[in-house]
């Protein structure tokens, strides 16, 4: 990331001021596209060069694709694919008479795609304006102009005393401020062995230690609400149903590391998340739980929300910080790590939403109780979420260590309408695919890794017996190529070539494909290019006859 651009920003724009991404998105929402005048105005307001702002406007999906007064966004995520392949997309194209990315100026209607809307429990999903409709009849209702907000199943817990499926009480923060030093809070989180829940599994306590020990007095806590994994709606649930847990976790992280400022970056595909968080922030401020003097303790902590504009890779931490600065959401090589030089050059702790939501429970109940939640497994519990193919989809809090079969059959009731599981993809598009024969694999980091899979962020997407695995490969690689940020060469060109190979209909040369997968794995700059081969490797291992190889 350019240090000069960050200096320019720091001269003109305070942290918390609208970013170039948000200002461009507002202009786009107003007149359906971005003009040169918009770019000049945003450059003047943010202190960024005009060319830089132009670069931002060409990066994000929301800014690149024209929109109309009535914009229909069809979800092409993996849960919608598993439910309907592309039938829902075709029906909307035919019904509206529009191609994806096209606008009918006369009718004032536009059609575009979104990946994903986070209504995977009721796929296929369609967003009409800010209303997300989903499930049977959604497409027909949207075409009639009668979209209705899809209901969301309540979250459940397999644990008697859940850490995450509950309303926030702020008891952890009250206890910490009354009875613990910042170092003691940090030690408690370290002793709890809390691992990052976004997919990488990095120990949170170690990350906090880096930031707490960084030079300077100012630090920032950044909550990664860019839950882009198609098939995942865990963070959406937390941000919209339990925002107090997130805010309390951020305040505790701030107290432990010496940060007085928190930023939540929310993805634009979740129109209800930002309002829910902002309402919770306002309520917490009113009660003295956030602000210049939290609960009269002298500890100051403020949180603000910023919004992305359509990019999967912004979920990667360096890209996330670039987006939160209003810049192109591209990945930067590390070091420097965010703990050393993050948002606006400040030491920064970047955490997934769910990771932060675990912290209040640890502060309230202690490290030992947290580790005891999953006997013999990874410390704590995990939220998983199931797609529409299951009989009882939804967000469920589970201990680590149950088998994937137990989760699929007992927690989610098996598949609906007598269908059978052909395979499940766990943890998003970079996760391996587990065939039905391996469902007895325990749901935990090490055993899933051994099966070529991962816990990832915890989404469980089932493909039923009617699914073509070549179509799954094409679906995943289309997403991978479209979402490549374009920085590193292997991912930028390699995913395009891999997608072309599966989209062509011609036989795929297995030896060449495997060479390409190795290049992506060995040479990519971040987990996007490095991880996209994982599901393709699974398909090669378990479904080679379906892939049309030569």
């Amino acid at each position: 990331m350019s240090r000069n651009l960050v200096s320019l920003l720091n001269r003109t724009s305070a942290i918390g001021a609208p970013t170039a991404v948000e200002l461009l998105a507002a202009a786009h929402a107003e007149h359906g596209g971005i003009t040169d005048e918009d770019v000049r105005a945003v450059a003047a307001r943010t202190g960024l060069p005009e060319a830089t702002v132009h670069g931002v406007a060409t990066f994000y999906d929301d800014l690149r694709v024209p929109a109309a007064a009535r914009q229909v966004r069809v979800c092409t995520g993996t849960a919608c694919f598993a439910a309907a392949r592309e039938r829902h997309v075709d029906a909307l194209r035919a019904g509206l008479g529009l191609e994806l990315g096209e606008v009918d100026d006369g009718a004032g209607t536009g059609l575009s795609e979104a990946v994903c809307l986070g209504f995977c429990h009721s796929a296929p999903a369609v967003r009409d304006g800010d209303v997300v409709d989903a499930g049977p009849g959604a497409v027909e209702r949207v075409l009639r102009g009668a979209a209705r907000a899809a209901p969301e199943p309540p979250a459940r817990s397999l644990l008697a005393e859940p850490a995450l499926v509950r309303a926030g009480t702020w008891a952890g923060l009250r206890r910490a401020l009354a009875a613990m030093t910042p170092a003691e809070v940090l030690d408690e989180v370290r002793a709890a062995e809390l691992l990052g829940r976004g997919g990488a599994g990095f120990p949170a306590g170690v990350k906090w230690g880096f930031a707490a020990g960084a030079p300077g007095t100012e630090r920032v806590i950044v909550a990664n609400g860019d839950e882009g994994d198609p098939g995942s709606y865990i963070d959406k649930h937390l941000m919209e149903r339990s925002p107090e847990l997130l805010l309390e976790g951020m305040a505790l992280a701030g107290y432990a590391t010496g940060a007085s400022r928190g930023v939540v970056l929310v993805r634009s595909e979740y129109p209800a998340s930002r309002p829910a968080l902002e309402a919770a922030i306002a309520a917490a401020r009113a009660e003295g739980l956030l602000g210049a003097d939290v609960l009269g303790s002298g500890f100051a902590f403020e949180v603000h929300v910023t919004e992305g504009a359509g990019s999967y890779v912004v979920g990667e931490e360096t890209a996330l910080l670039a987006c939160a600065e209003g810049l192109r959401g591209t990945v930067s090589a590390r070091p420097p790590f965010p703990a050393e030089r993050g948002l606006r050059g400040l030491p920064t702790v970047v955490h997934n939403i769910e990771t932060l939501c675990n912290v209040p429970w640890i502060a309230e109940r202690g490290a030992e109780a947290f580790r005891a939640m999953s006997p013999g497994g990874t410390a704590g519990s995990k939220l998983v979420c199931f797609n529409e193919r299951f009989a009882r989809p939804g967000v469920v809090e589970v201990p680590f260590g149950l088998t994937v079969r137990a989760l699929c059959e007992e927690a989610a009731g098996g598949l609906r309408d007598g269908h059978a599981i052909k395979a499940v993809q766990i943890g998003g598009p970079l996760g391996g695919i587990l065939p039905a024969a391996l469902l007895d694999t325990p749901f935990d980091l090490a055993p899933l890794a051994q099966a070529g899979c991962m816990v990832g962020h915890g989404s469980i997407v089932a493909f039923d017996e009617t699914t073509s695995m070549r179509e799954v490969a094409r679906h995943l690689l289309r997403f991978g190529a479209h979402e490549s940020c374009g920085t590193c060469f292997p991912c930028r060109i390699g995913l395009q070539r891999a997608h072309e190979a599966f989209a062509s209909g011609a036989p795929v040369d297995r030896a060449r494909l495997e060479e390409l997968l190795e290049t992506l794995e060995v040479a990519s700059l971040c987990a996007h290019g490095g991880g996209m081969p994982a599901p393709i490797r699974s398909l090669l291992a378990h479904f080679p006859d379906e892939l049309g190889l030569c």
Partner: protein, 211 residues
């Protein structure tokens, strides 16, 4: 601090990168997005080397040395990846790069010939309105050297990366070209461009064209 490169000890200053250590030891690894005048970028992934303790090769240009580090420039996976990446690069260009360019020289050095990937290539799009600088977008490989040169050497910020994924490219100003940008005609971008996507228009070019 002391590190070893392919078994040979070498002394490097604190904060040195693995690439600097390799070069100080008289070794060499291929690079394409690297220019020693600019901050390292880590995009081309050609300078991958093995280092002890790392499960996979790392980019030499963005990895700092640590005391006692053992660097292996002969890692087989890294060598395969470098050749594969250069082949991917050639496959995105509508025509082979001019023989004098850094990319063409690198392809010769690594023994990469005609790319075997069918598929999309960049569409021709030329900005030839500026008196001294020409930009041929289809030759751009998004190495970021011109954008960093404009930022770090000249401070003009006339250039930006654009698009994303396979459609990533560069643009001057608000996409309208060098003439309508903050460009001060310093030529740093053309000087660092490894593919001839940005070139200086010389009096000789103009004379040749006129003839």
């Amino acid at each position: 601090m002391r590190v070893s490169v392919d078994g040979a000890p070498v002394e490097v200053p604190a904060g040195a990168t693995v690439l600097e250590a390799v070069r100080a030891a008289g070794g060499d690894v291929p690079t394409l997005c690297f220019d020693e005048r600019l901050s390292p970028f880590g995009a081309c992934r050609l300078c991958l080397v093995g280092v002890d303790g790392a499960p996979a090769p790392v980019a030499a240009c963005t990895t700092p040395c640590r005391e006692g580090m053992r660097v292996d420039t002969g890692d087989e996976r890294a060598a395969r990846a470098a050749r594969a990446v250069v082949e991917l690069l050639l496959s995105e260009l509508p025509a082979a790069p001019e023989p004098h360019t850094e990319l063409a020289a690198l392809a010769r050095r690594l023994g990469v010939g005609e790319p075997r990937w069918p598929g999309a290539t960049h569409e021709a799009d030329h900005d030839l309105r500026h008196p001294y600088l020409a930009l041929r977008h289809e030759l751009c490989i998004s190495c970021g050297r011109c954008v960093r040169a404009c930022d770090e050497i000249q401070g003009a910020f006339a250039l930006t990366a654009t698009g994303r994924g396979f459609t990533a490219n560069v643009a001057a100003g608000i996409g309208a070209g060098f003439r309508d940008s903050a460009c001060v005609s310093c030529g740093a971008c053309a000087d660092t461009c490894p593919t001839g996507a940005i070139t200086e228009i010389s009096l000789l070019d103009l004379a040749t064209e006129a003839a």
